[in-house]
Symmetry: C2
Subunit: 338 residues, 2 copies
């Protein structure tokens, strides 16, 4: 194992940056100067940033560093897709305490690089520094979108259909499972964690993917959603942003909300109603969007998308239960401050 203090800041940057390749035409100059240089003409540019703190956003007790690196890129890229844009560049800043050897940082970076390769994104810069305790990762992502295709979160119209990609709640129960197994292991280290049969919910928690497939589908089918947001804090929290214009509400149908079987099973194991998991569980990184009714046939043809309700002319956001009763929806999403 190599002590970070042996390598020093410049040595660390050099080691981490040595095999970073530039693949996007808009990246003129990446790592190595005071700033990166980009040529982003004609299109609009989107910029988003996220910070992940050890002990707050992740627990190295069960999160492999490689997965952490991968996920920290994906959460930013997901925000770029939520603007209907394509991610092109990221900057990566990392602060680590000297308790980590160089090899740990390298593993984290392996995950970052793997995500960049998968999503065809260039690493154009960043910062490395020491911290007193733990790891902090701050990533900024830059993307491009044609001028008439950018999609905001608050531009839905009454009558639009509300859609969601994939399924909801899996990452949340994946986290609950990891926390439970960690607790059991701490109580009795002889008991091996029992994770088999739960691969899907664990993957959604540990190594989520961002929905490039949905953005590509929009593009190749000439669909521009009327509004869009990515689900990081839970459906019931995100729908508020979609309905934030005065006089707009929604009806969401409980039986239309997509939930994977593993999510249902694990919710029941934890005595949580699966619909609560789907509404309030965080970190899904699925896309929540609205489309004009004229696009309904195109949307129905894609089995990765569920139509879960519609935008209404009212100020009420309702969940329509299976028996037809209307339940007012309130945000119960994940809140990093509490």
């Amino acid at each position: 194992m190599t002590e970070l203090s042996e390598i020093g800041e410049f040595g660390l940057i050099e080691k981490l940056a040595k095999d970073i390749k530039i693949t996007n035409k808009s990246t003129i100059k990446g790592i190595g100067d005071d700033a990166a240089v980009l040529n982003l003409s004609n299109n609009l540019t989107v910029v988003t940033t996220d910070m992940l703190i050890e002990g707050v956003h992740f627990d190295l007790g069960y999160v492999p560093l490689r997965h952490l690196g991968y996920k920290s890129v994906v959460v930013n890229i997901s925000d770029v897709y939520a603007m209907n844009a394509k991610p092109k560049q990221i900057t990566v800043s990392i602060a680590v305490s000297n308790r980590f050897p160089y090899e740990a940082i390298e593993e984290l970076y392996e995950g970052i690089k793997a995500a960049c390769e998968n999503y065809k994104v260039d690493i154009i810069g960043g910062d490395t520094s020491s911290s007193h305790k733990g790891i902090a990762i701050s990533i900024t992502a830059i993307g491009e979108v044609e001028k008439d295709k950018v999609v905001y979160r608050n531009t839905a119209n009454a009558g639009d259909l509300i859609c969601v990609s994939g399924d909801l709640g899996a990452a949340y129960v994946g986290l609950q499972l990891l926390e439970r197994e960690k607790y059991i292991y701490q109580e009795n280290p002889k008991i091996q964690p029992n994770l088999s049969g739960h691969e899907y919910i664990l993957q959604k928690q540990l190594k989520p993917e961002a929905r490039y497939d949905i953005i590509n589908f929009f593009n190749s089918n000439n669909i521009v959603p009327t509004s869009m947001i990515d689900i990081s804090d839970g459906l019931s929290s995100e729908i508020i942003h979609i309905c934030s214009q005065f006089g707009l509400g929604c009806d969401i149908y409980e039986d239309k909300i997509p939930i994977a079987q593993q999510t249902i099973d694990m919710s029941l194991e934890f005595n949580i109603d699966p619909i609560v998991t789907a509404l309030s569980g965080g970190e899904d990184y699925e896309l929540l969007f609205t489309v004009s009714p004229e696009d309904v046939e195109k949307i129905k043809a894609n089995n990765l998308i569920s139509i879960i309700g519609n935008i209404t002319k009212s100020n009420d956001m309702n969940l329509i239960a299976k028996d037809g009763t209307k339940i007012p929806m309130t945000a119960q999403g994940w809140n990093a401050m509490r």
Copy 2:
């Protein structure tokens, strides 16, 4: 005082963001969606990022939060100027432990906003989160430059003049003074810190400015430096980047290096040769650049700029002492990892 946990993450973002105004034409959409949206056509875009960690980059024992906020913007903007670009947008991510009340974060943000106002930069997004300990600030700055005016650090030519803005070493001795007075105060809290007469070196440490005046001077005098870098790690460390092309070296003249009287006095008080302070002290945020000999008269007319040497056809970087002896220069700059 208001507990952060009372306000919550969304409340905090709302409070901090409420009076943020957008002034740049290229900012289409700032805070409030999954990502900010920019229209950066025609010009090149530069992107830079910096992370500041409590206890590593700053000590709240003597750094007021407002100054910290101001400085954390300035260090990024300085990197944008070092590309001969104009800063336009920043994202701001902050992680804070719950030991800080809301009012402390507000004060930090006041400084961030004051810097943005001074430098005409829009805050377009960011992230707030809790941390287990201390404050971490990560800022990404975006700037614009005309396609034929971007200046890199490694493009100097033999015969070019080496120039520096302002004076060097002040921030370093300012830090030494603050550390000394903190130590004295800790030993005996009855002794008040003695800081009067040292305003210049303290300001260079606590509330530095980035050299927009130099970039404006280049622009209005049709000067494009042949290379440029900002001095954050000390002159002797940065000159290596300027001379990094094979077969290029430099002669730097000791008696041409600009050092303020307060810096000289404080260096001597600490028994440090002032030239060592100027060569190796960090955090100057002055610009180090080279110009073609044909621009020499224009440069000489600006008394904010000192010509300190020239690029040579050799692989040696020399400091020419006052008595004419040549001393090989080596990097002794500040290294955040050690």
